[in-house]
């Protein structure tokens, strides 16, 4: 037997005479995120970005459940800004179908104002020449934010907002 919905296996003969058949791993998974990532995502839906404070006072965004050095459960929440600094970036000339931006864009590690760890997100610019390390960016919120990282549709250069 196979999981409901599994397509039938049909063997084929390849050009070199080899007998081939697909092996499809197909079954459902669910994900539960727990209280910490749960709060982070829920806050995003309310257009707020929050992190947790580590034992050494560093603010981790996205939040960590446990301190990376000591393992202490982190419970202090810190609201950070929706503006920040591009620490490094990489250009994506051809977006994939599931990217929130359907034009060429940059992936960037963004250090939000008030945070001590950078967060990966997309930056929308007209062309690659507008991207630079150290540039300032601001979050562009989705029209109807859901509890997901895509509640932030992308970031844009802060200067674009005047």
């Amino acid at each position: 037997m196979a999981a409901p919905g599994t397509p039938p296996i049909i063997a084929t003969v390849g050009p070199d005479g080899s007998l081939m058949a697909p092996l499809r791993l197909f079954y459902p998974y669910d994900r539960t995120v727990g209280a910490v990532i749960g709060r982070f995502l829920t806050s995003l839906a309310a257009k707020k970005i929050e992190g947790t404070r580590g034992v050494d006072a560093s603010v981790h965004v996205p939040p960590l459940e446990f301190d990376p050095a000591t393992g202490v459960a982190l419970t202090e929440w810190v609201a950070v800004g929706d503006t920040g600094l591009v620490l490094t970036w990489s250009w994506q000339p051809e977006p994939f179908a599931d990217n929130t931006l359907q034009q060429p864009f940059a992936w960037a590690l963004i250090l939000l104002d008030g945070a001590d760890t950078p967060m990966l997100h997309a930056v929308r610019v007209a062309s690659v020449s507008e991207m630079s390390t150290g540039m300032r960016v601001r979050a562009v919120w989705a029209a109807e934010p859901t509890p997901s990282i895509t509640a932030i549709m992308c970031f844009e250069p802060e200067s674009a907002h005047g």
């Binding site: 079954y27 209280a35 459940e65 446990f66 000591t70």
Partner: protein
Amino acid sequence: MALHRCAVVGVGQTHHTSCRGDVSIAGLVREAVDRALLDANMTLADIDAIVIGKAPDMLEGVMMPELWLTDSLAASGKPLFRVHTAGSVGGSTAIVAAQHVMSGLHKRVLTIAFEKQSDGNAMWALSVPLPFSMPVHAGAGGYFSPIVRSYIRRSGAPSHIGAMVAVKDRTNALKNPYAHLHEDHWTLEKAMESPMLWDPIRFVETCPSSDGAIALVLASEDVADKMPGKKAWVHSTAMRSEPTMFAGRNQVSPRAGEMCAEDVFRKAGITDPLKQIDAVEMYVPFSWFEPMWLENLGFAPKDQGWRFVEDGVTEMTGALPVNASGGVLSSNPIGASGMLRFGEAALQVMGKAGEHQIDGARTALGHAYGGGSQFFAMWVVGSEKN
């Protein structure tokens, strides 16, 4: 080379249930860890090395979760070792952790096993249709039911034996606050009417799908001697494996299981297991495996295991109590289930099993098996030093 002594000095487990939606995998694991450390009066900073196990990654779809769990275990800069032996992994993991101490390498070792079955679908993860092969089973029950039928045919066991084991284990679970299933309505008559899932395995004779974790703190002799309270001394450990399929394989009583039991008893100086073992925590995911393992482990003569069940030998009040905790039949966080057997055996000889304590238990066996009855892990623990 002489082995150093090793003791279980802390045991912690979660309340096992069908879905722990309130925690991440890291949070679930940490709950058990915090309880074990509290029991051992230690903190994460005291731990020298960590050994972690879970059933195949495919069950939750998280590859190498031990890397993700580093922060929650404060494992940065410490040895972190992952063990893989399918359903027996909880037992194998505890054994590898014990070896970290017995080798003299480490003094305080934390060992953890877990499963968050609600994040995945073990039934179908274990039933991948393979090209060019006949798809013959659905889930573990589909795999094991022909083996159970074979046992019944060989031994002449009456059909109510599986139901008797199920009623015993579900009733024992009422005394274990951590057990997943707390069902107080089972009688033999009702169990016999339970729907047939995989003939001859009835619904009540099947383990649940659980989220849960267990952690143990193991310590060297010098560390354990300085600690107040009772310890469970690890008298012996053994592991054996054999392939899933080979001509002439005895799937009802695998040779690897027999050899593993012989080895673990020999190393613990046990010559008459039935007399010398006071409590057994045995991996019984389908109730018929209790009589089958009684024979495989050498407690009962061939084809006579079911008579032990029928005569009440394995009841909490019997001569050889099996699964006083309620066993796998009452809680099955797969990867954790083997270590739960090992940890419950330890609790029995520490005198800390609470309402399901077997009075005067001094020597106990923890048993785990996995895969297609092919991976075996066992330990004997005692209230006194070996």
